[in-house]
């Protein structure tokens, strides 16, 4: 067995802390005690792999995938594209990227969402794709609306798309959210504000990308994602025992 190389330890300062009282639900769902830190093991260095057989033809097209192509969703048509890299700027190829989002009016197709903005009969709100050889992915979707949520008395989520990325090892697993350039609600959002480092929050804001938009069809936004890297083990004793 070859050593896959230990994962680079997470820089926890780049992430939100578990406890942030302005995001009220985190108050009772955050551990009080410190995390137990140690170097990664094969349990974190291996991870699930998903093949192209998993992905249907419309899986990355949220405008059409709910109706299987029969009718398009209502809203601002956008391409969301980007690249998945690791901390050493190496592309992460053939990795699964999943997204979910509200419709153009800010309503989620979920049994628990009771916001009175209507569902769009032609919009589901989930999609998935694999990155290509060079780590690129793309989704066609509609821009989600802002929506209110029960936190402080008048909190509204900015327009956002949830992202789930696997990487190649279980220890790289990441869920985050993509925001949209220029949205004034980002600065007022307690969930966005759980990120202490302003430059880290800025990196969740996708810029308008006119070069990738298609005239008379859709606008485009670019969202790159960085996962944990693996350290080289050149000078270490490799456990070759298997």
């Amino acid at each position: 067995m070859t050593d896959l190389g230990p994962l680079v330890p997470r820089n926890r300062a780049a992430h939100p802390p578990a406890y942030d009282p302005d995001y009220k639900t985190s108050v009772t769902r955050s551990p009080n005690l410190p995390l137990l830190s140690m170097e990664s093991t094969p349990s974190e260095e291996h991870g699930p792999r998903f093949g192209h057989g998993l992905i249907g033809a419309l899986d990355n097209n949220l405008i059409l995938n709910w109706t299987k192509g029969a009718a398009p969703a209502v809203g601002e048509r956008i391409l969301v594209h980007g690249r998945v890299l690791d901390e050493f700027a190496r592309p992460v190829p053939h990795t699964l990227v999943e997204i979910w989002q509200a419709n153009a009016g800010g309503r989620y197709r979920h049994v628990k969402d009771s916001y009175f903005a209507p569902l769009d009969a032609n919009f589901g709100g989930c999609g998935r794709t694999l990155t290509d050889e060079a780590g690129y992915y793309e989704f066609l979707t509609i821009r989600p609306g802002a929506y209110p949520w029960p936190n402080r008395a008048n909190d509204w989520r900015p327009m956002h798309i949830h992202f789930s990325i696997f990487g190649h090892s279980f220890g790289q697993r990441l869920i985050s959210q993509m925001y949209f350039e220029g949205d004034p609600l980002i600065a007022r959002c307690p969930i966005a504000a759980t990120i202490r480092d302003r430059s880290q929050l800025d990196r969740l804001v996708a810029p308008l990308d006119m070069a990738k938009s298609r005239p008379m069809d859709f606008l485009a936004y670019k969202f790159d994602i960085v996962l944990r890297g693996r350290r080289q083990t050149m000078f270490e004793n490799k456990p070759e025992g298997m």
């Binding site: 067995m1 230990p6 997470r10 780049a14 939100p16 802390p17 578990a18 942030d20 995001y23 108050v27 009772t28 769902r29 955050s30 551990p31 009080n32 005690l33 137990l36 830190s37 140690m38 170097e39 093991t41 094969p42 349990s43 974190e44 291996h46 991870g47 699930p48 249907g56 899986d59 709910w66 690791d86 050493f88 999943e98 979910w100 989620y108 979920h110 049994v111 628990k112 969402d113 589901g124 709100g125 989930c126 998935r128 949830h162 789930s164 279980f170 220890g171 990441l174 869920i175 985050s176 959210q177 969930i191 759980t194 880290q200 969740l204 994602i225 960085v226 996962l227 456990p239 025992g241």
Partner: protein, 199 residues
């Protein structure tokens, strides 16, 4: 100015939110049919070698209330301690599962085979365990932990040995409740708080 490091910083995590199931377990959210089946329905298929086991539990918050909106992912090797892709690994073990706490009771269930021991870095062996990743509304970055088994010898496990307060080791040990059945509760905060990992 010193030389620049040509490394990037990991993208910041954000909560998965209450509607995580739309993207990750669409049938659970009411989007059945968008994919042929949800991802990670089972970590094993028919004919997987080893002891079939069922692990059940709840994810409990700091007030003692079970989360009804948690999503958990599990990752493990086969009964011989081999991960998918390793030479000789059991082809009937994908090792990956995804499951939700029940919307009414908060209970989750994982049906799998008991994993074999896996080497650690260096010469040590790790006791059999299932790795977990827990996300939910109110959890800003996914919580990592592990399930060990009370009917295995856990004394030499390098991770468990690092836990200073010995009573806390118990929070990572699933209790046997019957033949092939275990109970494993995840306590996010307070008395009996589960050991979470930075690994």
């Amino acid at each position: 100015m010193v030389q620049p490091l040509d490394t990037l910083t990991e993208t910041a995590s954000q909560t998965a939110g209450p509607y995580v199931h739309i993207g990750c377990i669409p049938s659970f959210a009411g989007l059945g049919g968008i994919y042929p089946e949800d991802l990670g329905l089972s970590p094993v298929s028919d004919g997987a070698k080893g002891e079939a086991i069922t692990i059940t539990g709840q994810v409990i918050d700091g007030t003692g209330w079970a989360l009804r909106d948690a999503m958990i992912e599990s990752w493990q090797p086969d009964a011989a301690g081999l991960f998918p892709g390793q030479a000789g690994a059991d082809p009937a073990v994908s090792g990956f599962a995804r499951f939700a706490a029940d919307g009414d009771s908060g209970f989750w269930t994982l049906k799998t085979v008991k994993p074999g021991a896996v080497p650690a870095r260096g010469d040590a062996m790790q006791a059999p365990h299932v790795s977990l990743w827990i996300t939910a509304r109110g959890i800003n970055i996914g919580l990592q932990t592990r399930i060990y088994f009370e009917d295995e010898d856990n004394t030499a496990d390098p991770l468990l040995k690092r836990i200073e307060q010995r009573p806390r080791v118990d929070t990572l040990i699933a209790k046997r409740t019957g033949p092939g059945e275990y109970r494993f509760d995840i306590v996010l905060q307070g008395t009996g708080e589960t050991v979470f990992l930075d690994i």
